[in-house]
């Protein structure tokens, strides 16, 4: 199972600089694995614990948050908020007994699609090593036992 494992990744992207980056990365034939879901947000600061946990709950193997660089934020404090959210999320994930590595924050300016590509592929590599998310496994087993 581990060999054919294609991780399900959710990437939250800021609409102002990282969403164009993603578009460019897709256009330039990036080697993206198929199971990556890009969720556009108007601002990285809109990412909340809820979205991240929801994604994990629904079975994501990894969650990636891509925001602008702090000084470029269109809403001035949005990117900084995203950083705060992610710091707290990491702590909470750790408390919940989850690998903190399943969650990552990346900051990109609107021209750095190569950097984005590299970062996301690295992230996928890390998740592949970790294996499927424990939540997903647990849910499957509970589902099968109840049947």
């Amino acid at each position: 199972m581990a060999k054919n494992f294609i991780p399900k990744i959710v990437a939250f992207c800021c609409n102002w600089s990282t969403a164009p980056v993603v578009n460019k990365a897709v256009e330039s034939d990036a080697q993206f694995p198929p199971n990556i879901k890009i969720v556009k947000l108007m601002c990285g600061g809109m990412v909340t614990l809820a979205f991240i946990l929801k994604a994990f709950e629904l079975g994501a193997d990894g969650v990636f948050v891509a925001t602008c660089r702090v000084e470029d934020c269109h809403y001035v404090t949005g990117a900084r908020r995203a950083v705060d959210v992610c710091d707290n999320t990491k702590k909470l994930i750790d408390m919940l007994g989850f690998e903190p590595g399943r969650f990552k924050l990346g900051r990109f300016s609107s021209l750095e699609h190569k950097v984005f590509e590299k970062a996301i592929n690295e992230f996928i590599g890390v998740i592949k090593k970790m294996g499927p998310s424990p939540i997903k496994v647990q849910r499957r087993t509970t589902a099968s036992t109840s049947r």
Partner: protein, 651 residues
């Protein structure tokens, strides 16, 4: 679990990081205990506040009046203007000409409202004013007790300096008391406001003439502020001026009248000039029983520097104004004035002041008969006694000062008000008083004088919902009828009553969403709001937590949040969306999109349908507004939408 967390997820912040970030941006948080705050909006100044030379926070006090909190309104005014009752009567109110409501109907009666709150305090008894604490050992001498002197005394005594005002006349008030007649500005109002300032701990020495500035320094004063005003009338410079009796300088005339003398200057009076002192002289002369009063002004009514209201009132009371006429020579007989020869003028090119220059029309002379001529052309300061003190004087006989610091060529000596600008308005003098006080403070503390730059002012455009207000006519303050004004120096204009004041204040458009009343900071027990100013920028912060949030101890400790919080501010992100069923491919949206985010594409079956590139779309909504079929609309990225999107992905 997730839904509960979705609420707690707003509790994002660790305070230090946001604070660091804001510090980088040049903003300091006044209340560091706010753990998760973010700016509601950068406060920009409203146009009325920008127009006010003293920078009175007009929008804020109008907001306080609307709430019926007249005490707070007065506090706000007094932060920047220590003479609200005086300004509420005689201010030229540049704020009203900049009022945004004035763009489509009459502007707000800001001046009358200021007068209302000042009078409200007088009527209902003011709070006991306690002397300010003396925190600094230095003393400052202020020469002149006009508005500039009083304002700087007020500021300096609040900063903790010992302040002494020297006044040559037996009464304080300067031009307020000697120049403005009581029917415009009752004496008890001036006295009350001066008393308020004296009560703060200012020493007022009347009947004391200052001749030598060096003496003041010898007496131990560290700095001197010369606010001596402009009390010396300029000469007409026409033939016959010095030959005949009956030519009076309007300032001397007004000073006599304001002292209480009620002698009639003559029967037929000519007043030369078009400023407020000309109108004041003319209206005073009428009240003294003169049968005919003419004003001769060399430009047209449009260029007249006097207040429009004053001119109207003067005309209503029976003053006749000759526009476009200038004196040529004075005619007299047996040492007495019998009349004045004038020439007609026409207006030429605009001069440096922006007003059109009057040009005499040749051989258009005419004679106006009169037995007294009041010259009210302009004034200059009595500067002769300061010429030997080593202070540079300009060619207009005013003090030469550094424009930014108001310091004269002699260190430690500052000058401001009419003594620098020539005759000007009360509010300009107040502004000069503030600037002088700050400069004197920096001078005494040894700080560089020119450090402070005037803040950059960004004008915020009106949003559509603030600019589609209900129409409401401006309230006009009641006036005593003209028949009752003869022989009487009683005040002409009356104060608004409470209901009128609240109704008028409600007309304020409050340009920009925040009223800047700062009431939130005062009222909020939890101190969830803070305001800070740095580098001229102000930022209102609000605690960004949702209502009714329940946090477990563990999580709240982790998130560094204490207790429940009450306010929530959310930005709803928007992106355009075109529904394929309704789109007819007309391409109107494509033509209006500022970001080229919409393209009309032809499908295989020949249908033309607009396609939105969500990455480029900025959610401005222009396309939705032009779409004839309603296919183009704005979709919201709410938490619900995002959760749905995620659920869709995982099946």
């Amino acid at each position: 679990m997730a839904s509960k967390k979705s609420k707690s997820s707003k509790t994002t912040g660790s305070d230090s990081s946001i604070q660091d970030f804001l510090n980088e941006k040049g903003v300091t948080i006044q209340f560091p205990e706010i753990c998760d705050s973010f700016p509601i909006q950068e406060i920009t100044m409203s146009s009325c506040r920008v127009a006010c030379p003293a920078g009175v926070n007009i929008k804020a006090y109008l907001g306080a009046i609307t709430r019926g909190d007249f005490q707070r309104a007065l506090e706000i005014v007094k932060e920047t203007n220590p003479l609200p009752g005086i300004c509420g009567r005689v201010c030229t109110h540049p704020c009203e000409s900049e009022c945004r409501r004035g763009e489509f109907e009459d502007p707000l009666a800001i001046c009358a409202l200021k007068r209302f709150i000042a009078d409200y305090e007088l009527k209902n008894g003011s709070k006991n004013i306690e002397p300010c604490k003396r925190t600094k050992k230095e003393n400052v001498a202020i020469v002149g007790s006009g508005p500039a002197g009083l304002t700087s005394a007020n500021d300096l005594v609040r900063m903790g300096y010992g302040v002494t005002i020297f006044e040559e006349l037996p009464v304080a008030g300067g031009m307020l008391i000697t120049g403005i007649p009581p029917y415009r500005l009752p004496r008890d109002i001036i006295q009350a406001e001066i008393d308020n300032i004296v009560k703060l701990g200012v020493e007022l020495k009347t009947n004391t003439k200052v001749d030598n500035i060096d003496d003041l320094f010898k007496q131990g004063y560290k700095a001197v502020f010369l606010a001596i005003g402009a009390h010396e009338g300029l000469k007409l410079k026409v033939p016959g001026e010095d030959e005949y009796e009956g030519i009076v300088d309007c300032i001397k005339f007004l000073r006599k009248v304001n002292r209480g003398e009620r002698d009639k200057p003559g029967e037929r009076i000519i007043v030369i000039g078009g400023g407020n002192s000309a109108i004041d002289s003319a209206r005073s002369a009428l009240r003294l029983g003169c049968s005919e009063v003419y004003i001769v002004y060399r430009r047209s009514r449009k260029e007249m520097p006097a207040n429009e209201d004053e001119i109207k009132e003067a005309e209503a009371e029976g003053v006749k104004i000759n526009y476009l006429a200038a004196p040529v020579r004075i005619i007299g007989k047996d040492d007495k004035v019998t009349g004045m020869e004038c020439t007609k003028m026409k207006l030429g090119e605009p001069d440096q002041s922006g007003r059109r220059r009057p040009i005499p029309i040749p051989s258009s002379e005419f004679v106006v008969e009169a037995d007294t001529i009041l010259s009210a052309i302009s004034q200059k300061p009595y500067i002769s006694c300061f010429k030997d003190c080593g202070i540079k004087i300009t060619k207009w006989d005013t003090f030469e000062v550094n424009e930014k610091t108001l310091m004269t060529s002699k260190p430690g000596v500052f000058a401001g008000g009419d003594a620098v600008t020539g005759p000007s308005t009360v509010i300009d003098a107040i502004a000069a008083g503030h600037r002088a006080a700050h400069a004197i403070d920096r001078y005494i503390c040894g700080k560089p004088l020119e450090k402070e730059k005037s803040p950059e002012i960004v004008q915020r455009e009106l949003t559509p919902d603030t600019f589609s207000p209900e129409r409401a006519t401006r309230l006009k303050a009641k006036k005593i009828p003209i028949e009752k004004r003869e022989d009487s120096f009683a005040e002409v204009e009356l104060t608004l009553n409470e209901d009128e004041a609240v109704r008028e204040a409600k007309r304020c458009l409050r340009c920009g969403p925040c009223v800047e009343c700062i009431h939130c900071i005062k009222e909020c027990e939890k101190r969830m709001f803070g305001i800070s100013t740095d580098k001229g920028k102000e930022l209102l912060m609000v605690h960004g937590l949702p209502k009714n949030i329940k946090l477990t101890e563990e999580v709240s400790a982790m998130l560094n949040v204490k207790g429940k919080v009450a306010a929530e501010v959310r930005i709803e992100p928007i992106v355009s969306e075109v529904s394929e069923e309704m789109c007819r491919g007309c391409g109107q949206c494509e033509s209006v999109c500022n970001y080229s985010a919409i393209k009309v594409e032809e499908k295989e079956d020949g249908l033309r349908i607009a396609h939105v590139d969500a990455a480029i779309c900025k959610g401005c909504g222009t396309c939705a507004s032009v779409c004839p079929t309603g296919a183009s609309h704005l979709s919201l990225f709410k938490s619900k939408d995002i959760e749905k999107e995620l659920e869709g992905f995982f099946g």
